[in-house]
Symmetry: C2
Subunit: 117 residues, 2 copies
Amino acid sequence: MSVKHAKDVEVSKIETGSGVSRQVLISSDEGPNFAMRKFTIQPGGGMPRHTNLVEHEQYVVSGRAYIGIGEETYEVEPGDVVFIPAEVPHWYRNDGDEAFEFLCMVPNLPDKTTILE
Amino acid sequence: MSVKHAKDVEVSKIETGSGVSRQVLISSDEGPNFAMRKFTIQPGGGMPRHTNLVEHEQYVVSGRAYIGIGEETYEVEPGDVVFIPAEVPHWYRNDGDEAFEFLCMVPNLPDKTTILE
């Protein structure tokens, strides 16, 4: 593929979260080195504190949320750029009244999600 | 860094383009495997047809533009996802009346821009 619109990409529910869905915009089969995914967290939803084996490079597209990274908590908004190093605990919570949407890029390397609570 | 706002990141002019600027949101020093950049092309501006040694994974944030990839031309808008394979000729032209902004992720591998015209 060369060009596609995010709204046309299949949506999958993320069972480890609450009100969280994911679209794989550029898969690890399409991109030779890294993948582009878009996550949506509905109002009242979130992802519990967890770790991954790979880093995340993220960009907030719409909405607001709280993100915990290590011991710090950040409130993020559209245009915010988030870097979560590999193996650092992190979580998401959408306390707002609109969907929180963000891009999350990850390298084509083995990953495992470990829920911490 | 963990969180930063795109508007706070230094802007550099791209001399090979017309009305094109770049912000390095997550550098190849910060991200262990790939970098996140944001490009802005002003109305009437563009990038000439060129190749790179690395692939581009892109996401349109605002505005509209024409993008040429190989022999195809696409009109893109916010939410569009663009994949440009390594070494494939590509170009950008903003014929609209608002700035065209897009994210462009590249792997941490040697790159060279070759202008074709």
